[in-house]
Amino acid sequence: MSTRSVSAWRWVGWACALWAAFGLASAQPQPGSQAPKSAAAAGAVAVVLNSGEGTVSLIDKVTRKETARVPIGKEPHHLMTTPDGRELIVANAVSNDLVFLDPVTGKVLRRLDRISNPYHIGFSPDRRWFVTASLRLSQTDIYDANTFKLVKRFRNPKAPSHMAFSADSSLVFITLQDSNEVVAIDLNKQEIAWKLRVGPTPAGIWMTADDRHLLVGIMGSDGADVIDWRKRAVVGRIKTGEGAHAFLGMGDGQRVLITNRVANTISVIDQTSLKVLETFPVPGGPDCMELTSDGRELWVTTRWNRTVTVVDMQTKKILSTIPVGRSPHGLFFANHAPRR
């Protein structure tokens, strides 16, 4: 047996050392301030959360090109503005923090640590409560919306996912993805009010503009369950498409969109008649959506393809497919249609 070594391989060691040194030297001392100048100047940046790689993609809405990809934290899934609209909050589930961005430019403003596993987030309409759903740990946290101090932590097995509020802010409704339920938490009493069985793997939840019905995206089936929440009863099912998932109001208080992840379609539901008005194809696993204020362009994260898809809402044709990062989830831009 020979003990002769291949000495050329010593260079591999040196290459590794140099690579490590380069990586350390290229580290930036401050997160943020990496917003693209051109898009910032145009005031038209779309922010996309690449949940699988811990970055945000900033997209120039005019050119529909990704202008920057910025490290943000681990598993950013959902985002929303503060009630005054001045800051955009990105919830990093695994990093246990919230990152506040400028909603117009996407520039990082500040970071708030010690927020437990925020998967989905929401403010009560009265701006009093900030609620986080921890899907992985089966918990729901209620924070004071002004101070972000924890008020109450609930065990909510299994897998609290999306949320919606009653108009009077007395209740927050949360889908429990792995136990096929919707739970209602009384925000005044800070206690669980009731639970209701729904279809398999409930995900998105939407309060209709008249505050009468909750629509629940049933991901394990082909539509949305309709809940009369005052009666605490499922009163119907709207058939939309396989893998019904997330909602977005179209701003007129009449129509709401729902993505169907398995069918690769998006349906438009009338919030009053609770009927499907139309369904159109969006391939690639459509997930979260954002609609321009004029209602002409629908932007959708298409999760399986690592893209954002832009749809012309008049013709329902795809205008662009924009490459972004791994597993794009939440999506936001400032001049969006009202969320109702």
């Binding site: 391989w9 060691g13 811990g54 437990s116 740990l137 918990q139 992840r261 690639g284 597993s327």
Partner: protein
């Protein structure tokens, strides 16, 4: 490079969207959709890794073998271990087994008000530099793995399982994954604890494991290869690790052995277990020379491991 990424993304998306997702939907397992998306990627990366280690390392074994063998019969079982691990079957099984336990424990801690401090919380500048953060994770994981490995040799009950790994007398690029499944589960718990302490996310964990596994395939390869005097002290080389597998030297000598590191020999140097004096010793376990049987097939190896654990083999 962009083209490669596009091909990879398209393959991942197509495989998941056209095969995996419809199957999950039909079977009523949509709550596993995102886990399955990651698992599909692990499978694809596993195929890529298998091709890479075979294309890059097998020629090295042929051209610069550390040992010459009459046949490669006993290597075949190790190939099966490698397939089961690198294609994600064992890791995903362990993940499914441990996740409820680990998440349940973590949820209890959160109810008590404890949130772990991630590395980035202690070193905020890491957030802006994924490469630096990744290197930091590798260092911490490797440190943890060094101590796991030392304990595998130190504690008799753990050695009863880990000795399966050392029983290969034809150590090759396929030997890294030759482990008892119970040992894999314990390793999963060990790394879950580390991931919890440093706030490691699933994506970073998978990337770190892919890196570690690739280096381990190289370090087990039947190649007389060193990285030079300095390189051998920076990254575990086949020569360095072959000494760890040497009969009567690597795992049965003073301090219960030497060269325990997986990636960085620094840990062995720091804790006094480094041995850079390669003697070309055969691999295996001393008691094999007295006839102790560790099994030939996958099933017999697993069964005998359990019997050793019970003190009956």
């Amino acid at each position: 490079m962009d083209t490669l990424i596009q091909i990879y993304t398209a393959t991942h998306g197509w495989l998941f969207e056209s095969l995996v997702l419809p199957a999950l939907y039909a079977l009523g397992f949509m709550d596993f959709a995102e886990l399955a998306f990651d698992a599909t990627e692990i499978f694809i990366l596993g195929v890529v890794q298998l091709v890479l280690i075979y294309v890059l390392l097998r020629p090295l074994e042929a051209w610069f073998p550390a040992e010459h063998w009459a046949d490669r019969k006993s290597v075949r079982t190790d190939v099966l271990y490698t397939m089961l691990h690198r294609l994600g079957i064992v890791p995903i099984g362990i993940y499914a087994l441990l996740t409820p336990v680990v998440d349940g424990a973590e949820a209890q801690l959160r109810l008590l008000g404890y949130i772990p401090y991630g590395l980035e919380e202690l070193l905020p500048w890491l957030v802006a530099s994924p490469i630096a953060a990744f290197l930091a994770y590798l260092v911490v994981l490797d440190f943890a793995d060094y101590w796991r490995h030392r304990l595998q040799h130190r504690w008799g009950v753990w050695w009863a399982l880990h000795s399966l790994h050392h029983s290969q007398r034809q150590m090759s690029l396929w030997t890294d994954d030759r482990n008892h499944l119970l040992d894999d589960v314990i390793g999963g718990l060990w790394f879950s604890a580390v991931a919890f302490v440093i706030g490691l996310g699933p994506a970073e964990f998978v990337a770190a494991m892919l890196t570690i596994r690739f280096v381990e395939s190289l370090s087990h390869a039947n190649v007389r290869l060193s990285f030079g005097r300095i390189g051998d002290r920076l990254l575990v080389s086949p020569r360095f690790h072959r000494t760890h597998h040497g009969v009567g030297i690597g795992h049965e000598g003073a301090r219960y052995g030497c060269n325990f590191a997986t990636l960085f020999p620094f840990w062995d140097m720091l804790f006094g277990t480094a041995n850079f004096a390669y003697r070309g010793t055969a691999t295996g376990i001393s008691d094999q020379l007295q006839g102790r049987d560790y099994g030939e097939s996958f099933l017999s190896q697993q069964w005998l491991g359990l019997k050793r654990l019970a003190g009956r083999a």
